[in-house]
């Protein structure tokens, strides 16, 4: 009994430590913005968002089965996103805050779904069919934005179906691969990739492809299969390069953005200048000039961080993403069933890959694609989707916790485990 209460107390202290830091960061940032502009909304946000962080920690961390470290990390990254969006455009900041709160609700639904759903044999085919239909909608009724036809409007709400289908991909692949239905999994992932190619949404296709390959490797352990997958991916990349003009243009910009710094290379060049301006410590919140970058709130969120908060802060943010991925892999390692392991690996891979693709694009490591920085970039669908992915991971963590309790009960040691997950 003593051990149990000590474990609980330690976890609470750690959670409150991280929550306190998130609250302090949010409060100080918004206070600074209030001092700069005298905008009362910023003052209200400094108190309101900090209170929301505390409340979410208490309610979700305390009342629902979840991994508190993952929850704390998620909230810190979301708060960084809200701060940088509010700093340039208060409207976007407020919308993002609202999306954050809605996303937390969706995350809870995902946690409960993964924790308690039993009929995956029924859900998986239904999700598979629904997701393919949803992914086809933009091809049929969507409108083209920045070269990709991946947005649709339904009842006045504009969203990107590929963001929603990301969740479906994780669940369906995890289920079918855990049941050794490799061909069916391959066909489903292949269909998704072909539809994404038709939409010309190659950034998202790259993430889908990477996640599928990683999940298949974890499931089968076959290097041959991964080799075939990599060869197929390379073939698709060459095909995409030759078939799509905007891909060729992006590669050309990536290779030499300075060839046309006022035209095609403008976005990357401005991004590189903003990063260089920031240096190690940043220009200071409210003093940066990153708003000159087109789509700074979406594609260049990481550049804004580097510009205003500096390179050291940026590295720490990347470290926190790495911590999210590692935590996901820890959860996968502790899971009892193949389905849980694959789901957790898939979620971690998705977050890690998406971060790599966009951060790599920002720092000119790879060609820039139109994917968002998970949890930070502006965009309702993107934030909701990222929080749902975290929710799926939390659901697996909840199942691990239940498994530990069951094993302790079986061994006659009492129900409460000491480990955090």
């Amino acid at each position: 009994m003593k051990h149990r209460s000590k474990g609980k107390r330690t976890r609470r202290t750690r959670t409150m430590g991280l929550t306190g830091l998130t609250m302090a960061f949010t409060f100080l940032c918004f206070l600074l913005l209030f001092v700069k502009t005298g905008d009362l909304t910023a003052a209200a946000m400094s108190v309101g968002l900090s209170a929301a962080v505390w409340l979410i920690t208490v309610v979700i961390g305390g009342r629902f089965p979840s991994d508190r470290l993952l929850l704390s990390l998620t909230m810190f990254l979301c708060c960084v996103g809200i701060v940088i969006l509010y700093r340039f455009d208060s409207g976007r900041g407020l919308t993002q805050s609202l999306n954050f709160l809605i996303g937390m609700g969706c995350m809870v639904i995902c946690i409960l779904f993964v924790r308690y759903a039993k009929k995956w044999g029924f859900f998986a085919p239904v999700i598979m069919a629904g997701s393919l239909a949803l992914l086809l909608l933009p091809v049929l009724f969507g409108h083209e934005t920045n070269g990709a036809k991946n947005w649709i409007s339904l009842a006045g709400v504009t969203f990107q179906p590929s963001e929603v289908v990301k969740l479906a991909l994780l669940c369906v692949l995890a289920y079918f691969l855990s049941r050794r239905k490799l061909i069916l999994s391959g066909i489903y992932a292949g269909c998704c990739l072909i539809i994404l190619m038709l939409q010309k949404d190659l950034g998202t296709a790259l993430i889908y492809y990477g996640v599928t390959l990683i999940m298949m490797y974890v499931s089968t352990g076959s290097v041959t299969l991964v080799g075939i997958g990599l060869a197929g991916g390379a073939g698709a990349a060459v095909f995409g390069y030759h078939e799509f003009a905007h891909v060729r243009r992006r590669v050309a910009i990536w290779l030499d953005p300075w060839a046309d710094p006022a035209g095609d290379g403008y976005q990357i060049v401005q991004g590189l200048i903003a990063m260089a301006n920031g240096g190690a410590w940043g220009t200071g919140l409210g003093l940066g000039n990153a708003s000159t970058i087109p789509y700074y709130y979406n594609d260049f969120a990481f550049t804004i961080i580097l510009n205003e908060f500096g390179g050291i802060f940026g590295l720490l943010v990347l470290g926190l993403y790495l911590a999210v991925v590692l935590r996901g892999l820890m959860i996968a390692h502790r899971a009892d069933t193949v389905f849980d392991t694959l789901l957790a690996v898939g979620c971690s891979a998705q977050i890690g890959l998406q971060t790599f693709v966009i951060v790599g694009g920002n720092i000119k490591l790879i060609p820039l694609t139109g994917v968002t920085l998970p949890l930070i970039s502006y965009g309702g669908t993107s934030l909701l989707s990222s929080l749902c992915v975290i929710g799926l991971l939390q659901g697996v963590a909840a199942r691990v916790q239940a498994g530990v309790r069951r094993d302790r009960t079986l061994a006659g040691l009492g129900g409460e485990g000491g480990a955090g997950v």
Partner: protein, 227 residues
């Protein structure tokens, strides 16, 4: 506040923000390290975590821990690696379902006998069910508190009776009894377990080989892992 004063304040705050992020990162790393250490400790206390019992080879008396979900076969990557004539690289998938027992799903072309009956698509094995995989004969011994039926629920529920006899090499052997020993109604005689209120027979494996796990098997023996 003047522009210049704000500039000074904002530049000073940069260090505070980096400090907060660094502290956050440090606390995260410490949390993960401590948690990993705690998890290892937890695993040490629960060496059989994630398992539901053991499969005991009747010939060699070798014990294979049975995970809640896994595979049986001769390949190294299988969770239960059984080497023997007729055992395929991946012979079957196993999945434990509370209340139903251990579901066995043979791989394509793999032959399995559960309590003497061939398994075509899938079947559930209960406590003390007998599995014949290739040349290997295995008995399923489930943990005491695991929620599973007393015997296999495959087919008509009838299992041929068996008894333990000393082998030539001094090890115990589980051998099937002739049909006449089962009485008129075999189900009545051999439906062991709580649901029938029958007295449990003596564990055929007690004292034969040590149980490597920290948890007691449902063998009528003493629970060795009480706190």
């Amino acid at each position: 506040m003047s522009q210049e004063a704000f500039r000074l304040l904002s530049r000073a705050m940069r260090y505070v923000f980096v400090l907060i992020a660094a502290l956050y990162f440090l606390l995260t790393v410490l949390w993960m390290r401590r948690d990993q250490r705690q998890w290892k400790k937890e695993k040490k206390n629960l060496p059989d975590a994630g398992t539901v019992g053991e499969l005991v080879d009747e010939d060699s008396l070798k014990r294979y821990p049975v995970p809640r979900e896994g595979t049986i076969g001769s390949a190294r990557r299988c969770d239960i690696r059984v080497i023997g004539h007729g055992v395929k690289r991946l012979h079957a998938d196993i999945r434990f379902a509370d209340g139903k027992g251990l579901m066995i799903i043979p791989a394509r072309g793999a032959k399995i006998l559960l309590n003497g009956e061939p398994v075509s698509s899938r079947a559930c094995a209960g406590r003390d069910s007998r599995l014949k995989i290739g040349s290997a004969s295995l008995v399923l011994k489930l943990l005491k508190n695991v929620d599973a039926p007393a015997r296999g629920v495959f087919g008509d529920g009838y299992d041929p009776p068996a008894e333990v006899v000393p082998g030539a090499d001094g090890w115990a052997r589980v051998v099937p009894l002739p049909e006449k020993h089962a009485g008129e109604n075999p189900g009545e005689d051999w439906s062991w377990g709580d649901e029938f209120g029958a007295e449990e027979p003596e564990d055929p494996f007690r004292g034969v080989a040590p149980v490597p796990s920290g948890r007691a098997m449902d063998d009528g023996g003493e629970d060795e892992t009480q706190e």
